[in-house]
Amino acid sequence: MNQPTDFVTLVSNDGYEFKILRLAACIAGTIKKALDPMSGFRENTQNRVDLPTINGVVLEKVCEYLYYNQKHAASKDVSDMDIPPELCLELLIAADYLDDMISAISPILGSMPGQTATDTARASTSTTLNKKEDYVTSTPS
């Protein structure tokens, strides 16, 4: 069992690794849940989160945002961060995935040994999608 470290590693689907402050990383709900010692995900012991739906370029921007968010958390009139229009859509999907998806999962689902949080997130995503028949599932395998 590793001690929780100050820095954690985020891994994109094309293998880029970003080491960022744990505090900043935990701004994203999904990452926070994944690293939560109570949830017992594998990520917690490895201090490493695989994000198989996010590529390196987008993840870099995500990390930038996390630090931006952390820096400005308490200030009032925050100037907006620059978002390159070409990344916008991918980033939006990534943001949706990182922020909200996992908060919908009940904690019981999360404690399956060996499973990673992002697996669970994906599973839940696809079930809700199938149920709603809103659109074709987009989760890559």
Binding site: S75, P85, C88, L89, L91, A95, D96, L98, D134
Partner: protein, 652 residues
Amino acid sequence: MSGRRGRGANTGGANPPPPAPARGGRGGRGGRGGAAGIRGPHSALTDFLAANNISAQEIRDSYQQRVQQAEREAAEAAANGEGPSNDVEEDLQAESSAMAAERSKKKRKRDQDEAIAKIKKGREAKKKASKKKKGSDDDSDFDDVLDMVKKAPPIPGQLKYCEICEKRFTVTPYSKAGPEGGLLCAPCGKDMAKDLKAEAKAKKPVVRKGRRKLESNRLDGMLQRGPKTLQQLCIETLAKHSEDIDELGEMPEGIMKRISEIFSKKRAMNSTTMKLFLQPDMDTVAIHEAAYLETEDYDQIFAVCPTVKKVSLRNCCQFKDSNIDYMIEKGKHLRDIQLLGANLVANDKWIELFIARGQDLRSLKVEWLDAAFDDQAVEALSTFCPNLERLKIERCKRLGVDSIDAIARMEHLQHLTLRFYCEIPHERLIHLITSVGANLRTLCLEHFLDAEDEPNDDVLDAIHNTCTKLRKFRFTENNECSDEGYVRLFTDWSNPPLYYADVNSTRDLDNTNPDGPDEAVGLTSAGFSALMAHSGARLEFLDISSCRHISHQTFVDIFDGAKQYPHLAEINVSFCPVVDTQIVAGIFRSCPSIRKVVTFGCFQVEDVRVPRGIVLIGAPRAGDQLEQFGEGEVVEREGMGGVGGRVVPVMG
């Protein structure tokens, strides 16, 4: 001006070199100027040197000083018993000190340069340095240097070469320092000052920018503290580049909805962008601002999404008969239809639509229709669409009393919202309420007046007796029902507590008698107390704006801080003149989940400390206080979910 005058005087040679104390040696060649301005003969060299602002006297003085110093030091060394053995060293020392004195001028300038460079560096370092390091030695050093330089004014009267234009000029106390540390002549100094000013202006953060946006967001009831969410940022960027998007791809529905909303708000919803939101398997198409869409675009909706169940088009001005035909043909799954401002649809087409959708139609919302849609259409609706659960008809000019009777036959109605232009006799309205009221969960009756009858409270009594399932109740713009009627309505009502109560503008409208008649008209103190007693426990939204006769004491009693309204999130007390700072503060205390307080026209609301997470809008006297966020706990920002299914304004 002063500079020029000084220069003129100088070139005239009227400025004598400072009188030097006669210290023996070679006597005063031109040394003794004195007050009379009489002086001895000058050598050509002295004249030349004087013209170049070099004083022979000064050179002499400094030489003598050096010699004296050397002597003094030698004497000191001898006194220390170091003997003549280290003569050489002494000489060296003397020489070096002399040289030092000689170079002192140059050095001073260099030092100044260095100091300025240091300051510049220091400023940068300061910017970078974290707060922890503040107060370290480095910084204080820099500060000292900064002080030193600032305090040393240019010595006036000397001639210098301007650092920029290299012209000679007389230094005055107002001479500016150049970028390299030298001095500047008056014109260059002015230019420099101008540049500096411009720079300072550019550097100053523009505080007012975005203030209007901020206010606008506040009016929409949105708080923005800290950074926006990444989603929000992305959506805003998307809206900025709405024209360049080829395809949105597969988006979660919630995000799709928000993008659509913000596009509508920014009037970016046109033929091109609308297609981004059409996907074959969608079951809801909601376009909140369809004014830019053309007739063909509406057909697109049903061509692309044949399985759509719910269609909501606001301001669909170009929605025509042909679109209705196409909708009937393609949209076989339609259950909910909302068309606002569809004035190009003929009466018969509406009837055709109702016949076609028939049993399936669950919900119909129409507003702002004045050319067509008359009583016959409503008649057809009630005949052919018996399963209608939700009906909203507002501001349709051609509707009359017959429509009310037709609606009274819709047994399955659960949500009913009506706003008619014409007057409806009380008995028809009461008939409607007694017919369908028992199942209603939403009842909104706006502006239902009857000038024919004597004003009475029968409508309210009918609601009291019939409706027992209401959750949302709106009864507005009424100057007929008395306070007593409201008291009777809310007292011992077998209806469960409301979550949404809107009784705004129920007051007497006589301008000549602003205080109202003796017998209170509209919701006043007693009625308001009864309302809060009945629904306070569950109430989430309360609108009592323009209920002018509610007393101050009533407000104080209801929002006393001890009584709690745990769910109340939004309250509108606009144009209740008695509302003051104390009452607003009481609202903050009594409503732990309050998020928005509207106080337009409440002139007694001043200097409110608005706790965090609450937005106070409208208060005309509160001024900048509105910007102030109180001390309260940091409230977790919740998702901006809508209350009661209303369309929530979007940021951007």
